[in-house]
Symmetry: C2
Subunit: 767 residues, 2 copies
């Protein structure tokens, strides 16, 4: 039977692109940091990266990007003065493994040098319990007696796209703890790495040079004996809210771990992860390929979920490196947030806290970007402060070598609506209003205010319009009345009104404070007006098709193949005003269909089918966000074969890592957490057919052909459920700890689910 | 003393570009047609063109363009079987002359072939009295007896950019009259050319082959004797409103002219032109260069002024060929109309009738272009029907070879305001309301309606805004609140209101009919509202500078030189969304300054100076419309040296013909009637300081250094004046036929000018 809880490979190669891809596939992370799936002996050239969440730095005029920490996990082994590397020619065999159960990375490599076989094996994990901590087991053994030198400690020579980000690197040693610290360029934030190791063999010395702070172990290894040591490293930065100096905190963290010991650390890691999997795993029977891909996707999401209390979010390439500037896009709210809010609300709340934290940046953007001029216009590419990291010119033109002006930053206004919708959904699905009270309501009102300041009134048509925007389909910039954007804006007004209504009933005092703080009371009637009279393109009465934006239907017909055939240069961009797609109906990614996915309770299956069938052949799927939107909507009107194909494509994107990693000369590689989220959405919301409404959950399963059983956990209004779906029955297991009895709508039939109950319902799968 | 009433050249060359330029410089025209300044013996390869006004045709998918008529002026001479051409190697000397006094073209060429010198001299003009008629005198003489063959008649092999436009060409002979007729491709309009000649020597035969219909004259020429014949050709098309078949009309026209005789025809031509010059000439003392250039410019305008009753307008390249599709742009209203309305209102009225004629096309455009959706959105490039000949993709990208999307057609909405303003100015300056009654009022109301349907209301700022437009500066497309455009739109609302008010007082019955026809009465309050609350960017309180559009001040500083230095390809376009000028403040042509020129009574000299000084260094002057706008405004705050330099540049553009004639592979050569008009405007409105208001003319002369005297005629409210300006005095001669006494404001001082009076006023030139 195939192991569906790990991946492993025996490949080793020194092709830089393979190293890069391997680094992504085998990465581990714990929300605080990501550690690329590189090997112990690797350095900067082999793309070692320990990418930190929520701390950014800029060197000169290059893009600001997340800071990579010095590598506290470094260990190299020399035999006879020759350093061994899995990329070198002394390798007999190599295997590396990523274990899903506790997010551990393991490697074993056998080297042969001058007749001696030497085996290195190691395991590492980033602690799910102690976010700053990394734990490593390292062993060597030889088949003959040999003189071996092991260097282990902290390597400050690390991979950076636009670095180096740490100035004044200094190495210290405090008792047996090694330290390497430095300061970011832009805001002089201190970053410190501490490392402790319990080496019970050899002669241990110390070596500190060239940004490395290492202990040197000289060992006369006996034949057949395994020498093992454990090392613990901790990363702290000035962003960490600790009561003592961060150097002390780092030392304490590694010392405490060492005292606890490796085995105990592993046990705690496994327990933590057991809990994560209990909440978030999805099991699929009958389809190992889908099971492995989906579980791997879920692993990715669980690993990069922000640390409690951090108010961090998940960047578009998560913690796999510095690509996309480590910035947070709409991806998080639209494609990752659903997974967390349905399975792990404590993580969902952090994602939204990040938006509260960056509200002032969004206010600054609204004031300066010239679209609206008030309220909150969230950054298209958001870093620490919420000021926009997106440049106005950010795609290379291969014909001129110049950067093309795009309007992602200044015209993709839907981002503010995406944030408001997720903010409200957190409350709507969890029933927990604490987020609204701690700033969520303020975000929502400011987003509505922004849309009001950006909307124009069409006097002749007696309606508000959202003009001059870029929708999800970035190939058609500066369009008017984009259905997705206008729908999202209209929803924001409705949510703002609902928020005020809710506060009026439940939190009148907080409402008064908030209204006074924002001086917004006079504007509320305008929100009502806009919620009623903001224009959203409606389905054509005859065809049911919704026009993506004003004039879309007048564009030229074409096909993706035809456009590609007309390309002169392989890297030419299809949008940016003059690209080949611009005068045509060819779109980059789901746009109207994205709206149907996001607002799937508002449109009939007939409308979904009509629009899906109209737009799908006209979609390039040039974004990893596109396939899953089409897949989810496809489940809703019964095109399960398509949905399955695109589900697999989405779920396997990071596992197979076959995506393009360079666009022009720009490195784009890394993980795709939005696709990971999209895979979960397609499985649970699509095939599982889950729709959580205001008052209850509805489930309309539409299992694809191969799947015999789909089993997943759901969290709703603070209570927990496990759904077990077959082709003919659905079993709802309600947690014994649930606070109340829920009515679950199974294939349209209301079913009472009391705490601790197990209710099995027969159903007929919708066609 | 230099002759300031003609130009001539002794050059002859066969470089195609020189032939092309020469053809423009020496063209003649009579409003019905233009005859390029080519020689009698020239054919298609030498760019012979007789371009007809107001008749268009399209072949396949090429651009629709004006039809060129078969060349009824063709004559070639052979000696000993060798055809003589001024471009050949037998030329001893050559001279060609354009006489301004009666718009006649003359040439004399001496050939030497096998020891014999043969002189060809000819003269030709297009009748100012009989628009369809061309008249030619042709003479030859030899210094030795020689056998000469003369072929004269109609040559159907003519130059076309996107032709041939005449199908089923057929040659006929009716008595002695030669005929060549054909039909346009698109709408099968018949075009016929008739030719008659009175040849009193030699043996005359007939030859008809290869699209030529010729008489062949075999002459045994005696030494020293001059043989002269006269020929008359007439062009008629199905557009001509004649009571008989156009073939008959053409035959009658040439027969009548032949009966009248050449000398009488010349006498009538001279008398007609005497009258034109009386009205429109401007004399400058002290500056022959300026005098010649300005008079040449005026000649161009007088030659291409539309035929009475034709309701034709003047294309951007007038009748010099088919460049720019023979289309009418805003150039006509903004840069040619002032010359005509001030000196020759009967021609101005035709220009505006053209807009009335094409109102339905403008209505169609409004309905389909997606900017507004009602009223009249005039074509950016207007041909017969008023449907837009401008393409969405009309500039070649040298990097990709593709055409760039520009927004000239769909976003340059100011065209409708330009039309409305000129329509109203005709009434305001002539006092003649017949144009308003015959459709001008309808045009004005429909333009206002268009702007109302295109305007959006900014609820927060409580104002209408005109969004997403292209102003005169075409490098910055799709901008909001362009000062020029918004000012013009606002003026249109005011004019619409004034029109209704005027009709209410003077033509209540016609008003009722009009309001009913347009169903527009309910909309009038909205026009009042828009006239009051439409936003136009105001001068900055500190600097006086008006922001060209929202966000202009935030663009990068640069210089024209810097941009040019950054160009990779000499033909790369600086606009179209990704061009080098787009992110910078560098503008193509006068925009804010164009507004200050158009509305020059509304802004103080201080504001003009501030904006001129801000924008001039940022202007590329990439359009021939730019220099004169800056020149006129420069006169108003005293930068006379700059004004003079740019006046000369503008006035000499067609005379020197040094402009670029190819942009990429697109031929752009031809005359520049807008610059011709701009030269007149700079001289009379700028240096002369003429401002005609609602009730009276004001004159604030600001003669440039060189000019001792400036003398011109003005027509105002149906009365005529001659202004004679020196550095210290201004003499107003009022025509004896004037209907009333006018008050002329001379340098701020009111002066009574009764019919037949000559009033001399001392003044001090403003600084």
């Amino acid at each position: 039977m195939k192991d569906l809880w790990s991946i492993s490979t025996a490949e080793h190669t020194d092709g830089k692109e393979t190293i890069m891809r391997r680094g992504n596939v085998y990465q581990i992370a714990n929300g605080y940091m990501g550690y690329r799936g590189t090997l112990d002996e690797f350095g900067a050239a082999q793309l070692v990266g320990i990418t930190l969440a929520g701390i950014f730095d800029r060197v000169g005029s290059a893009w600001r990007e997340p800071v990579n920490a010095p590598n506290g996990g470094f260990t190299s082994v020399s035999v006879g003065g020759v350093e061994l590397s899995a990329l070198g020619d002394k390798v007999v065999r190599h295997r590396q493994t990523l274990r899903f159960a506790n997010a551990m990375f393991e490697r074993e490599t056998v080297f042969k040098s001058k007749g001696t076989e030497l085996t290195i094996s190691s395991a590492r994990f980033l602690s799910a319990e102690t976010p700053n901590l990394g734990v490593i087991r390292f062993s060597i053994s030889c088949n003959k007696a040999a003189k071996v030198t092991i260097r282990t400690g902290i390597d400050g020579n690390i991979w950076d796209l636009n670095g180096p980000h740490l100035r004044r690197l200094s190495a210290k040693k405090r008792e047996s703890v090694l330290l390497l610290q430095g300061f970011t360029n832009e805001s002089s934030k201190k970053v410190v790495v501490a490392e402790a190791a319990d080496v019970g063999f050899g002669k241990v010395g110390h070596e500190s040079k060239g940004n490395r702070n290492l202990r040197v172990i000289k060992l006369s290894a006996e034949a057949g004996k395994t020498y093992t040591f454990h090392k613990y490293f901790a990363v702290f930065t000035d962003n960490d809210a600790v009561r003592k100096p961060i150097v002390e905190a780092a030392i304490d963290t590694v010392q405490n771990a060492r005292l606890l010991g490796y085995e105990a650390c592993v046990a705690r890691q496994s327990a933590q992860w057991q809990e994560k999997w209990n909440r978030s795993d999805v099991t699929i029977e009958g389809d190992d390929e889908a099971q492995l891909a989906l579980r791997y996707s879920i692993l990715q999401l669980l690993m990069v979920a922000p640390v409690r209390g951090s108010a961090n979010s998940i960047p578009a390439r998560a913690l796999s490196g510095q690509v996309y500037k480590g910035a947070i896009f709409w991806d998080t709210e639209m494609f990752m947030f659903p997974f967390f809010v349905y399975t792990y609300p404590e993580k969902a709340v952090e994602l939204m806290r990040y938006r509260i934290k960056t509200l002032n940046g969004a206010r600054r953007k609204a004031m300066t970007e010239g679209v609206g001029n008030r309220g909150a216009f969230f950054a298209w590419e958001s870093q620490e402060t919420g000021d926009d990291a997106c440049t106005y010119f950010n795609i290379g033109d291969p014909f001129t070598g110049r950067a093309l002006r795009t309007y992602f930053r200044d015209k993709q206004v839907h981002i503010s609506g995406d944030v408001a919708i997720a903010m409200w959904d957190y409350f709507r699905l969890t029933g927990d209003d604490s987020l609204l009270l701690e700033g969520g309501a303020e975000v929502i009102l400011e987003c509505a205010r922004f849309f009001h300041s950006a909307a124009y009134y069409n006097v002749e048509k007696e309606r508000y319009e959202i003009l001059d925007v870029v929708g999800p389909d970035e190939y058609h910039e500066r369009v008017n009345n984009n259905a997705f954007t206008s729908m999202v804006a209209k929803e924001t007004f409705k949510i703002a009104i609902a928020t005020v209504d809710y506060f009026r009933r439940k939190h009148p005092r907080e409402l008064r404070t908030l209204l006074r703080k924002l001086r917004i009371e006079r504007e509320l009637p305008a929100f009502h007006d806009a919620a009623r009279r903001l224009f959203v393109p409606a389905p054509d009465p005859k065809t049911g098709v919704i026009e993506q934006f004003d004039g879309y239907m007048g564009l030229c017909e074409s096909s993706v193949e035809e456009l590609k055939a007309r390309m002169i240069h392989p890297n030419e961009y299809l949008g940016a005003g003059q690209g080949l797609a611009v005068p045509t109906k060819i779109i980059k990614q789901a746009d109207v269909v994205m709206m149907l996915e996001l607002f799937r309770t508002r449109f009939s299956a007939k409308i979904k089918k009509a629009n899906w069938e109209y737009y799908e052949p006209r979609t390039e799927h040039g974004s990893s966000l596109s396939a899953c939107a089409y897949a989810i909507v496809a489940t809703e009107f019964g095109n399960l074969d398509f949905a399955y194909k695109y589900f697999l494509k989405t779920a396997k994107i990071d596992l197979e890592a076959k995506y393009k990693v360079y666009v022009g000369s720009v490195f784009m590689g890394g993980s795709h957490p939005a696709a990971n989220g999209g895979a979960w959405m397609t499985a649970v919301l699509g095939f599982g057919g889950v729709q959580a409404g205001e008052k209850r959950i509805a489930v309309n399963p539409r299992l694809c052909r191969k799947w015999k059983r789909l089993n997943f956990h759901l969290s709703y209004k603070g209570d927990d459920f496990r759904m077990n779906i077959t082709k003919t029955s659905l079993t709802v297991a309600s947690s014994r700890t649930n606070a109340r009895t829920h009515t679950v709508l199974v294939a349209g039939k209301p079913v009472k689910c009391s705490p601790g109950s197990l209710v099995k319902v027969k159903y007929r799968q919708a066609r």
